[in-house]
């Protein structure tokens, strides 16, 4: 059940280059949001922004009924959102999409692999599985040092390796290079980031169990318009809707 929630901004702060963390307070319905799900946010008005923007849920404070989102300013919608103030109310459909099926799987060790704005959903995931007693290792890739965020937050939950494309912070290269170098042990991996990264990760780890979370331009955000389809990998000519059947998929379920 998707709700249209009026969310009050209780905090908005820049945490890295072009990267905003925002905390949004809503009704008690938002407590049920799970790691991997997203909020479909209305920005501006119909003249300026006809379509909503999907942004992952990076954390939920159940007591205070607050969800955290972290987003990068890449275009006019995120720019508009970044200029909103504490006290402003934004309209969001929440919770949208599927979550990481952490209640259905058993594991001792998990590897989290995030890239850029794919990092935020992994944080709430890390918190929840850590609470379940899972040992969490994360490898987080960014463009360069000024884009890095949430290193200490992830470090509190387990080992956290940072990699930057230009080597200005942590390892130099791509997340896959770090996987090669460290060869971490894990039962399941969870990955979110740009499609080229997901492709590289899932092909490197192709015989391992894992979940990925993918992006696509969306219309409705609730499964009705077929804007966000992705072909399935089973040769059936089938497809999944990222907004409804995803954004979380088993690693080899869909064709990237």
């Amino acid at each position: 059940m998707i709700n249209k929630e009026l969310l009050t901004i209780v905090e908005t702060i820049q945490i890295a280059k072009e990267t905003i963390k925002m905390r949004l307070q809503g009704s008690e319905k938002i407590k049920h949001a799970k790691p991997g799900q997203f909020v479909h946010i209305k920005v501006g008005n119909e003249g300026s922004h006809m379509l909503r923007r999907p942004i992952s849920i990076a954390d939920v404070n159940q007591d205070q009924q607050i969800v955290t989102i972290i987003f990068k300013v890449i275009g006019s919608g995120t720019d508009h959102l970044s200029k909103c103030h504490v006290g402003d109310v934004i309209d969001g459909l929440i919770p949208c999409g599927t979550s990481y099926p952490i209640e259905q799987i058993t594991m001792d060790k998990a590897l989290l692999i995030g890239g850029g704005i794919g990092v935020p959903p992994l944080y709430y995931l890390a918190k929840q599985i850590k609470e379940q007693g899972v040992e969490v290792t994360s490898i987080l890739g960014f463009q360069s040092s000024e884009h890095v965020f949430y290193q200490s937050e992830f470090a509190e939950l387990g080992k956290c390796h940072i990699v930057t494309n230009d080597g200005t912070h942590g390892f130099q290269g791509f997340v896959t290079d770090v996987i090669d170098q460290l060869d971490p042990t894990f039962d399941y991996y969870f990955s979110c980031g740009p499609t080229p990264m997901l492709k590289a990760v899932s092909s490197k780890l192709q015989d391992r169990n894992g979940y990925i979370s993918i992006e696509q331009r969306m219309g409705c955000g609730i499964g009705a318009c077929y804007a966000c389809v992705v072909p399935t990998n089973d040769g059936s000519n089938g497809f999944k809707k990222i907004c409804k059947d995803g954004p979380v998929f088993e690693a080899n379920e869909v064709v990237l």
Binding site: M50, M218, A224, C225, C228, V229
Partner: protein
Amino acid sequence: MTLQINLPGLVLKNPIMPASGCFGFGREYSDVFDLNQLGAIIIKAATKQSRYGNQTPRVAETSSGMLNAIGLQNPGVEAIINQELPFLSDYDVPIIANVAGSSVEEYVEVTKALTRTTTVKAIELNISCPNVKQGGIQFGTDPELAAEVTSKVKAVSHVPVYVKLSPNTSNIVAMAKAVEAAGADGLSMINTLTGMQINLSSRKPILANKTGGLSGPAIKPIAIRMVYEVRQHVSIPIIGMGGIMNAEDVLEFLLAGANAVAIGTANFHNPFVCPEIIQALPGVLEQYGFRSVEDAIGKGHEHGVTNFSRA
């Protein structure tokens, strides 16, 4: 105040229905609000075989509008009949089925299949989809082809046929007259205008299909003009659409001559828009001095005939 409107094959509680392709087969929105509130539902286009549609990205945002190039993705008419219609038949809402095809034969076969069912109360003949290589819009810009497909579909349909017109034409009145003469029971207008957006960084069209259909408030003045013009030259009812966001916009379409309206893009901006408009409509009608929906239809025509379309 009564919002009820009777159209060929359709008794509508109110004149508000989601537009084809913008509401799937109703299932997803049934999680959002009670579908029984709607005047009708126009379901997503059906073709004979299942279609995957175009590559992604399939949508882009434009000023006061959007582009889409879904490409008629659907599971094929038999799967729709077996998997989607039973769900919809549980609701007390008339279902209008949008029919697409690459050939006259396909339109005819899909219509035959759909009108075997009792759930489908009317056909919306989609001769105006700009997003497929074959069929669709080519029928919608040639009056003779449009008339041919209309009469052949009429011949096999057990329910009234509304022909959905394309705005990508220099003469919408000629198209409307041609399908009226060919036996159409009603018109549905307008479909989207063909447009494009280019990404400055990638230097490529944003949509994988390059072009897409422009919808939303950006096109409302074009839709209003076409409904107004067509209203002066044909007598069959019109389902008006194109950029409706609120109850005031609905009234503008009624004044232009629409008998009912469909809401497309607005559903994405606000999934509750249909029930919200239904609730607001009586107040807006009253505010502007109307006693019913019926009372407002065509009331924007007071000063003779207008026709700016040229062949």
